[in-house]
Amino acid sequence: MAKCVVSQEDTLDLDVPVSRVTLSLRRCWEVCKNAVSELCRSKTAILGALMLLVLLGLCLLTPYIARYDPIKQNYREMLQTPSAKHYFGTDRYGRDIWSRILWGGRRLLTISVLAVLVGILVGIPMGTLSGYYGKWIDAFTMRVVDAWLAFPGIVIYLMLATLVREWKLAEFWNDLALIFALGINQFPRLARLVRGTVLAEKEKEYVEACRAIGDSNLYISLREILPNCLSPVIVQATVSLGSTLLVIAALSFLGLGSPPPTPDWGSDLNLARDHMESRPHIAIFPGLAISYAVLAFNLFGDGLRDILDPRLTDR
């Protein structure tokens, strides 16, 4: 983990009162500068970061660059090929595909990020506690994790998705439930990862030192060990983002995503199957969008891995 390099300027001159806020801001700036310069060490990371920035930009600018309402139908302009009027053409209901992709992307990315966050929030504490305390907690947790991993993944998603659809919920709660379902499925891998790192760190000297001082176990595990385990977690999280996106797309493709006419890359692909031969562009653009987003996350994750794990630097 790139440690925060404290520069000389940070040393307080006791005669000059500097506010705490300024100090922390300056620290953040230093961290960021460091991060960026470290990032530049890996070309894949740069490429990934750039792609992500484009993605982020498109998401933020969607209300301005999406030219049409993504759910408004126009049966006079059905199934048109890409043109100046409709950049990506129109689908079978006359909806503008460019707009649908933009709005769909927003929703998809939000859900994926939140889902991975849920996974992190559940997985990290579990893994830390399991790795640090060992014995009972560890045995039980690892059994649960193993059983979960043995479950045919898609089945869990299918069942949870079917469950979610039954509840007569506003779309917001629907999405929330989906996020929860996806996030819960991420936690086993994360928990395992964290546990492994914690196990390794546990034996190190500074932990002994903390114990000698009399710090409680909880404090040690959360405040001392955990920050050192973050780098593999960050990498895994980025990769998880990519795979979560793919899972959401697959679920919507199977018909278990959000109800129409919400723009959704996966269900748009499903709709496109009827016209694949005559209008292949309807099937190509959503797929390209998914691939682009996942590629961006994977590139970035790879780059991060290159940077954060010194053993692999010369690969």
Binding site: W148, F151, G153, E166, L246, A283, R315
Partner: protein
């Protein structure tokens, strides 16, 4: 070794137990039951009839009783009867397993056939154009959604070019030619993605191996380069690769739903999907359990295989 095996098997038991409980409870969380499905459009209006049907299907007993009845049957090898088709589940699911296995195995073989040469080349010619190309290709390969790739394959090879069929399964033991023809597209769709993952893996394990001492020793002994790479290094590097491929195969068994849907493949994934939609509890339970057990068992076997292979193949 024996102790380790026994240890691992003992470890499995609580995992399997949790698996059964999870399979059972998740399934029963689904709203509606099979009586609703069978009643169809008009619904079961008469409560007396509904009671009788519930009694017949054993749905009126408390959940934990149902669970133990089911568990008891399973331990005796009886997976019960499908509530929708009323035929033994053994017929329904076990007949489908070969199709999914066939798909998964051929897919893995295709992926290995692509990944091993590519990964090796990338490792041997590190940091050259070949290496970058391989890395880029594999990165793209893991980013492309499987079903989209499958759709594109169908579009090109089936619809536009008409070279390959896009559905149906023929067992290789029945008509080999037809079987091969029909499996190419689905297995390729499955395998390309696996290939991408395995390429990266092969590359990194090869890089690991190439840096080890024995390689230098072998080279200094005057052995030709190709022998060093292919006879020794590759063999060692294959161990982790194969083990992970084995684990992936296990994961694959449950993840073929989408491919099976696109190619109308009569496999376990699709059966499970349809069972979920029609609330066929016994089939869902049996399917989840079987797949889960398969995954766990394959994991165990792979783990043991790794332990067996590892010390023996190492060169001094």
């Amino acid at each position: 070794m024996v102790m380790y095996t026994i240890n691992r098997i003992l470890y499995l038991i609580p995992v399997l137990f949790i698996l059964t409980v999870a399979a059972f409870s998740l399934v029963h969380c689904l709203p509606g039951d099979v009586i609703d499905v069978l009643a169809g459009q008009e619904g079961v209006v008469d409560p007396a009839v509904r009671q009788a049907l519930e009694h017949e299907y054993g749905l009126n007993k408390p959940l934990y009783t149902q669970y133990f009845i089911w568990l008891n049957h399973v331990l005796h090898g009886d997976f019960g009867t499908s509530q929708v088709t009323r035929r033994p589940i053994a017929l329904e699911i076990f007949k489908r397993i070969p199709a999914t296995l066939y798909l998964a195995i051929v897919g893995t073989i295709i992926s290995l056939l692509i990944a091993v040469p590519l990964g090796t080349m990338a490792a041997v010619k590190r940091n050259t154009a070949v290496d970058y190309a391989a890395q880029l290709l594999s990165l793209v390969g893991i980013s492309i959604p499987e079903f989209w790739f499958a759709l594109l394959c169908v579009l090109f090879f089936s619809l536009y070019l008409g070279w390959l069929p896009s559905s149906e399964y023929y067992s290789p033991f029945d008509h080999l030619g037809l079987s091969i023809q029909h499996i190419i597209l689905p297995a390729a769709a499955l395998g390309i993605r696996q290939a991408a993952i395995t390429t990266r893996l092969t590359r990194s394990t090869m890089l690991d191996e190439v840096q080890k001492e024995y390689v230098d020793t072998a080279r200094s002994l005057g052995l030709p380069e190709w022998k060093v790479i292919y006879q020794y290094t590759l063999r060692n590097a294959m161990i982790p690769t194969l083990t992970i491929s084995g684990l992936q195969l296990a994961q694959l068994l449950g993840g073929t739903v989408v491919i099976e849907t696109i190619f109308a493949w009569p496999g376990v994934g699709r059966t499970l999907f349809e069972a979920i939609i029609s609330r066929d509890f016994p089939v869902i339970q049996a399917g989840v359990l079987i797949l889960g057990v398969a995954v766990v068992v394959i994991n165990l076997l792979v783990d043991l295989m790794y332990r067996v292979l590892n010390p023996r193949v190492r060169l001094a």
